[in-house]
């Protein structure tokens, strides 16, 4: 690779290697999560690792951090072979990690969390005192202000992440791994995080940034490695690549996220919400006066960074989360939004729901396919006779039909849901929720953890349902998916609707601003 004086990585191009992984393999049961991975990361750079969900990024980083032990392969840190059998070895080698799901003890204070495992001696008092001084210094140096005596469970997610970073810095790490750090952050918090990372880099620390967001890779990293299906595809200099190239490498062929569809012919309003608000048990306002409507023959996409109220909105509409105030009307009739146990009522009224999390909600994993294909509709007369006896034969027959029409593989109605791939699991849910003949379909993250082939199939089904005159509310954190499918797009930020656009009249830039809570028109006017 020739030196590039102008590029941000220019100085680092000759820098010695901080991390060298060779031949790393890891399997969980029959699943090969990492296969013969080679990776070289230069000291003092920000190195991105991209890949789709399930590409093996997190597994690889967990191996580097000693959370999992590799089946084969070698790890070299700063040129020296370093066997990492547990996190203790990783910490000793100067590696710190901010996990996607924070590893914090919620009832502990910030100080207690920071010293856990890095105490100075058998008694706490000196450790706490030292940590207090050190934290003050770190806070000043890196803009990482946190109240050291705050109880971590009471902090916002952004602050909790700071605590995680402080934990790593307190252990004087040279290498910092961040696993999907911005998934839960507001754009402002994310910007702040990237400033901190730049600062850390300028001090010679090495940063590994795992994400599936190409924008972040382009903006923050010096080099980027692409993973696909457990394998390392290629490592590139960020300045010399493009999002399109990365996307292509990630999925293995040129992505065509265009869905064949005709312009919508919206009919009457089927579902509408007015001033829908939801304050959760912790007192956090999840929804703030959300008003929207969806018409027959229309796909309404709801865009937004994860955690801005989309999930809660979907759950209130589906009758499994109670709203605090406001109203929801289906064909003009008000729905009960006060309880968590209204899902059966919604189904009776013609609202079907493909939940965001099919493992926890959409499917009963130990249930066989025929039990899952009628789940939620099991009390319909065609599945359930008098005296509450289930019609097993009718359920199996029904399952066979769905398996065939939705091309669910393997086509075995007696196989447990847990034994299907992600795409086929999603097809089971989709088959059930579409074939019940709903007027309104609520659908969350329809293609999360689903392979490309199944994605196209699922998208076609959603469009077909729209063309049949049904109303669809689509929640997805993948902006591409929202843009490809929606006729109209509602953007949510911080629990409220920050903007509504016709899909044809908007672009990624405008939606991005709305997702960050900025009204583009007003910005222009000011």
């Amino acid at each position: 690779m020739p030196p590039q004086p102008g590029s941000p990585a220019g100085g680092a191009a000759f820098a010695p290697l901080a991390i060298e992984l060779s031949g790393i393999s890891k399997s969980f049961g029959a699943v090969q999560a990492n296969r013969d991975i080679h990776l070289a990361v230069r000291r003092g750079t920000i190195h991105g690792i991209v890949g789709e969900n399930g590409a093996g990024k997190s597994t690889l980083m967990s191996i580097l951090y000693g959370f999992y032990e590799a089946d084969a392969g070698e790890i070299r840190i700063n040129g020296r072979a370093t066997p990492i059998r547990d996190s203790q070895a990783a910490i000793a080698a100067g590696i710190g990690m901010v996990h996607q799901h924070f590893m914090l003890v919620e009832p502990f204070t910030v100080l207690e969390n920071v010293i856990l495992g890095a105490e100075n001696g058998p008694l706490l008092r000196p450790s706490l005192a030292r940590a207090r001084t050190e934290l003050t210094r770190l806070a000043k140096e890196y803009e990482l202000q946190v109240d050291p005596d705050a109880v971590v469970g009471e902090l916002s997610v952004g602050f909790q992440q700071r605590v995680e970073i402080l934990k790593a810095l307190y252990r004087e790490c040279d290498i910092l791994i961040l696993d999907e750090p911005t998934g839960v952050l507001t754009p402002a918090e994310a910007d702040h995080l990237f400033r901190i990372l730049e600062h850390l880099k300028s001090e010679g620390k090495t940063i590994l940034l795992i994400t599936h967001k190409l924008r972040e890779i382009m903006a923050a990293t010096d080099e980027v490695s692409v993973m696909r299906r457990g394998e390392m595809v290629r490592t590139l200099t960020t300045a010399e690549t493009s999002p399109a190239e990365l996307a292509e490498l990630m999925v293995g062929r040129r992505v065509l996220l265009r869905v064949e569809k005709t312009p919508a012919t919206p009919g009457p309003v089927l579902l509408e919400t007015r001033d829908l608000s939801l304050t959760d048990a912790k007192g956090v306002e999840r929804l703030r006066a959300v008003s929207l409507e969806v018409r027959a023959g229309e796909i309404l996409g709801i865009a937004g960074v994860a955690g801005n109220g989309q999930s809660e909105l979907l759950e209130v509409l589906a009758g499994i989360a109670p709203a605090t105030s406001g109203e929801v009307r289906l064909k003009g009739e008000p729905l009960d939004i006060s309880r968590t146990t209204n899902a059966d009522d919604r189904r009776r009224r013609g609202i079907a729901h493909v939940p965001e999390d099919r493992h926890r909600r959409g499917l009963v994993m130990p249930y066989q396919t025929w039990e899952n294909t009628s789940f939620g509709y099991h009390d319909l007369p065609k599945f359930c006779a008098h005296l509450g006896l289930m019609k097993g034969d009718a359920m199996r027959e029904d399952a066979r039909g769905k398996i065939e029409r939705f091309d669910i593989r393997p086509p075995d109605p007696n196989l447990k849901a847990a034994n299907f791939s992600g795409g086929n699991q999603q097809k089971i849910v989709l088959a059930r929720e579409i074939e019940c003949g709903p007027d309104v379909l609520l659908i969350g993250q329809p293609t999360r953890g689903v392979d490309i082939g199944a994605i196209e199939f699922i998208h076609r089904q959603i469009v077909a349902l729209r063309d049949a005159g049904k109303a669809i509310i689509l929640v997805s954190v993948e902006l591409d998916e929202i843009q490809a499918l929606s006729d109209r797009i509602v953007v949510m930020f911080d629990g409220r609707v920050s903007g509504t656009r016709q899909a044809a009249d908007t672009d990624e830039r405008e939606l991005g601003l709305l997702m960050a809570g900025i009204e583009p028109d007003k910005g222009a006017a000011a």
Partner: protein, 321 residues
């Protein structure tokens, strides 16, 4: 006269609270580390038997105590194996340990001593006898203070004082030491402990073994301190009352002392009076016996301050995947 009765009840409460307190603190270590333990009863019973048996054979209460602790810790190791190493169901393991202790103590006891499952009556050397603290004689004539000193403060065996000392000691270990910090952390979020480079397995085994140690002392107290030998099923639900006290105290050491004293007091009253008359209402003794359990249910129901157990309690630590 009134004062004397009051003091006798108070002293009796303290002695009855002692095994509860030791077992309660035992459970506290285990459950704070995320290992539920409904096998306190069984561990106490096994310890009571071994302590009684070995003290009878050797004539030494101290050797008996060590034997009791050993028996209890063996059961702790089984619980650890089941719930930590093999990631099994902690509740089922606890149930099994209770039965194992119940069956084995009776079986082995009958086989060993042929006295219907009892151990031989212990002589003075085989028991922990009441200690007379210094100055008892001197203070005796002083009104109020004298009797209080004589009946309440002095006149218990060494294990009673040990149990009382274990309360501040537990508090100190839990909230002032590195070990305590890690112990509390592993009961709340073992993932945080693991990623901080600390062995979850070792920490939990340590907690479970401390639990065994304290249950062992509690059991030994029953057969060699309070009584003069082991009697079948002599724990009689004390392990469960201790568990109730632990929940009552919301897994904290000082409230545990309060809860155990309260439950000990209820037991003392129940032993002394067959029913209490308040006005025209007679409160039956059975109600007094059931009261600890009723109170615990009320606490569990959250009507009087919610009892929230350690978050990771009852679940084995499995790295997600």
């Amino acid at each position: 006269m009134e004062l004397e009765i009051l003091l006798q009840i108070a002293g009796s409460s303290l002695r009855l609270a002692t095994p509860l307190l030791l077992a309660c603190l035992a459970g506290l270590y285990s459950e704070r580390a995320g290992i539920f333990d409904i096998g306190l009863e069984g561990k106490m019973l096994a310890a009571a038997f071994m302590a009684g048996a070995v003290a009878a054979v050797t004539g030494s209460a101290w050797v008996g105590l060590l034997a009791g602790i050993a028996a209890s810790m063996v059961l702790s190791l089984i619980h650890g194996l089941a719930s930590i190493t093999l990631k099994g169901n902690q509740l089922i393991s606890g149930v099994a340990i209770n039965f194992l202790a119940s069956g084995l103590t009776a079986l082995v006891g009958q086989n060993w001593f042929h006295q219907g499952g009892q151990t031989p009556q212990l002589t003075a050397g085989g028991r922990f006898l009441a200690l007379e603290l210094p100055l008892t004689e001197t203070l005796a004539p002083i009104p109020v203070i004298g009797p209080i000193y004589q009946h309440l403060i002095s006149g218990h065996n060494i294990l009673v004082y040990l149990a009382l000392a274990a309360v501040p000691a537990t508090w100190w270990v839990l909230f002032r030491t590195r070990f305590g910090l890690r112990l509390r952390a592993v009961g709340e979020n073992p993932g945080a402990v693991d990623t901080a480079g600390i062995s979850v397995v070792r920490l939990r085994y340590a907690a479970v073994l401390i639990c065994g140690l304290l249950c062992g002392i509690a059991g030994a107290y029953l057969s060699t301190g309070m009584a003069a030998g082991f009697v079948r099923e002599m724990t009689a639900g004390k392990g469960f009352i201790a568990l109730a006290a632990l929940i009552f105290a919301k897994w904290r050491p000082w409230p545990a002392l309060g809860a155990c004293l309260l439950f000990g007091f209820l037991e003392a009253i129940g032993i002394r009076y067959q029913g209490i008359t308040i006005g025209s209402i007679v409160i039956p003794v059975q109600f007094m016996q059931a009261l600890p359990y009723i109170l615990t249910v009320v606490i569990l129901a959250g009507f009087v301050g919610k009892a929230v157990p350690p978050k990771a309690g009852g679940r084995p630590y499995v790295k997600e995947r």
